[in-house]
């Protein structure tokens, strides 16, 4: 046994002490509240997506002539294909919801402030990547929503000043939706974005480790309680419990509300009622409310402001002298987000 330990230790020269130091960062007490564990949730769901995604890719064919049929095969014929596809779809939905909730938690607790500004920017990039992965994902099914969603998105890119035309051509692999488009979406969805997300998550976590988690104190905290607890085994147990709970929820959703297959893409007919996935309701409504140029420029402006928020926040606090200005802006933004989403959800057009 000692010889085996020596053999391993010689080849992997990491001591138990070093390993403990690496994995056992003290966790601030507020993370005992589960609400603050939302950051780990999308990471966990991302792993589910990688696993189910690899399995789905075994049968999926990214070509207009065969994509829809391959998804139908996965859903209706492959053993447990319906389950894996439904898991993939629901995990995407929950992942996006978790990323948004995590970001709101970070925003409203002002955890993005100095010195953690760059991690907010990385978080924003992760949000963008997650939304893009969701969008390219449902574009692969090649049902009506897939085709028209991709067409609309490509034309939105086209409206971006200066680089719009090139962006559209790069996205579609041509001037219009063509036989190269699906394979391009597939590579973006299954290779480029997951790799980017993985790298960003590594940097995101590295920053958290370097700066430590923002410590929050609550009025009802017992005064003499220790301010930290151990990552291992205390926090990891919480994360494992969340993981278990997520699997139960995912499995239930996949079984009760499995992923369906709409009508096959018809480039000649836009269906009478067409809506994107719920996380794009806001931009969908925004596009209905304003002219294309204004909608695209204002969306770019809002996203730019979100990326640079840690610095804008500093400026606004100095300008107004109000420390809570970001909270009020956040409340306004959230209400607008919810309002536009609900509006789009309840009307036919």
């Amino acid at each position: 046994m000692t010889r085996l330990a020596d053999w391993i230790n010689e080849r992997i020269p990491v001591s138990g002490e070093q390993l403990r130091e690496l994995t056992n960062e003290p966790v601030p007490n507020h993370l005992r509240r589960w609400w603050f564990c939302l950051g780990g949730t999308p990471a966990y769901l991302f792993v589910v997506q990688i696993f189910t995604g690899i399995l789905l890719a075994l049968y999926y064919q990214p070509a207009p002539a065969s994509a829809y049929e391959s998804v139908r095969y996965i859903t209706e014929e492959a053993a447990f294909g319906w389950y894996l596809r439904s898991m993939h779809k629901w995990a995407a939905t929950l992942m996006i919801a978790a990323v948004i909730l995590h970001q709101m938690r970070v925003y409203f607790t002002a955890a993005y402030r100095r010195p953690r500004e760059l991690n907010w920017v990385i978080g924003m990039a992760l949000l963008m990547c997650t939304l893009l992965t969701g969008f390219t994902g449902y574009s692969l099914v090649f049902e009506q929503l897939s085709y028209w969603g991709a067409t609309v998105a490509a034309n939105i890119s086209d409206a971006v000043p200066v680089v719009g035309g090139t962006l559209k051509t790069l996205l579609l692999g041509g001037a219009e939706y063509n036989e190269h488009t699906l394979s391009r979406f597939f590579i973006i969805h299954a290779a480029i974005l997951p790799t980017t997300i993985t790298l960003l998550v590594i940097v995101h976590i590295a920053f958290i480790r370097m700066h430590g988690v923002t410590e929050l104190r609550f009025d009802d905290d017992p005064p003499n309680e220790p301010r930290h607890f151990n990552f291992f085994p205390d926090h990891i147990t919480t994360e494992l419990l969340i993981g278990l709970l997520l699997m139960v929820v995912l499995s239930a959703l996949a079984t009760i509300l499995p992923a369906t297959l709409g009508a096959k893409a018809d480039p000649l007919t836009t269906p009478e009622i067409i809506k994107p996935e719920w996380y794009f309701y806001v931009s969908f409504r925004w596009l209905k409310l304003f002219s294309l140029t204004f909608a695209v420029l204002s969306t770019g402006f809002i996203l730019g402001a979100m990326f640079l928020w840690p610095w804008i926040d500093v400026g606004l606090r100095k300008l107004t002298g109000n420390e809570d200005i970001s909270v009020w802006i956040g409340v306004g933004g959230t209400l607008l987000l919810i309002g536009l989403t609900v509006w789009e959800a309840v009307v036919t057009h």
Binding site: G173, E176, T269, I274
Partner: protein, 227 residues
């Protein structure tokens, strides 16, 4: 980058030139040493520049090739002139639905007396806003785009929604008249892979079926509404 190569090259040359016996003689002859340093510096700088140029040229070429690869060859959608009908048999104020080889339905109406292309209009069903397909709503007397609520009158002029805000109209397919026959420049293929086969360009005899009013798609614009 050039600076770092210069440093590396210099370091290499200095090391390779180290020799205790020659060092002594170099100390004695400072003029020769200065000349050597100058030569070494020149060679180091020159080689660093050559190396940098080589790297930039080779990786740059590779990057430009990869960049070019991202844009597929023949990416433009193919369109061709398709025969529609004989002008003489077409009364002003009448319209017909023409099914292009791609499967796209095009409503073509004659609104003028003159035997020229300007007397006809062939409206595209592609919404100028974000590219969805409009459809005719007879009860509202308008073309409607279900994606973002754009609406157009029978002439294709936007009346509601984002296209109206931007002053966009439905595009018209190019038309021409040759030897008393009307032609439309329409798309030849569809991405779906199940559209009718493309017909030969400028070959009226090959397209009589597709251009006849009874070949239209039933779910498109209500027949005769534009008449």
């Amino acid at each position: 980058m050039v600076f770092s190569f210069v440093s590396i090259a210099r370091f290499g040359l200095m090391n390779s030139g180290q020799d205790p016996t020659s060092q002594n003689s170099a100390e004695q002859d400072s003029a020769a040493s200065s000349s050597d340093d100058h030569r070494r510096s020149f060679i180091a700088t020159g080689s660093a520049i050559a190396m940098t140029t080589g790297l930039v040229a080779s990786y740059g070429t590779f990057a430009s090739m990869a960049g070019r690869f991202l844009f597929p060859a023949g990416g433009q959608r193919s369109v061709g002139w398709q025969f529609v009908a004989a002008v003489a048999s077409w009364q002003p104020g009448k319209s017909l639905e023409y099914t292009a080889p791609s499967g796209a339905t095009v409503v073509i109406a004659r609104h003028g007396e003159a035997d020229e292309a300007e007397a006809f209009i062939a409206l595209s069903s592609v919404c100028p806003h974000l590219g969805c397909r409009v459809h005719w709503e007879s009860q509202n007397d308008r073309f409607f785009c279900p994606c973002h609520n754009g609406a157009f009158d029978r002439q294709g002029v936007a009346t509601q929604g984002p296209p109206a805000k931007a002053g966009q109209s439905l595009k018209a397919y190019p038309l021409k008249i040759e030897a008393g026959l009307l032609y439309v420049e329409a798309p030849l293929h569809s991405v779906g892979g199940d559209a009718p086969a493309a017909v030969a360009q400028n070959d009226p005899s090959a397209q009589n079926d597709s251009s006849a009013p009874d070949a239209v798609q039933a779910d498109a614009v209500e027949k005769g509404r534009l008449s």
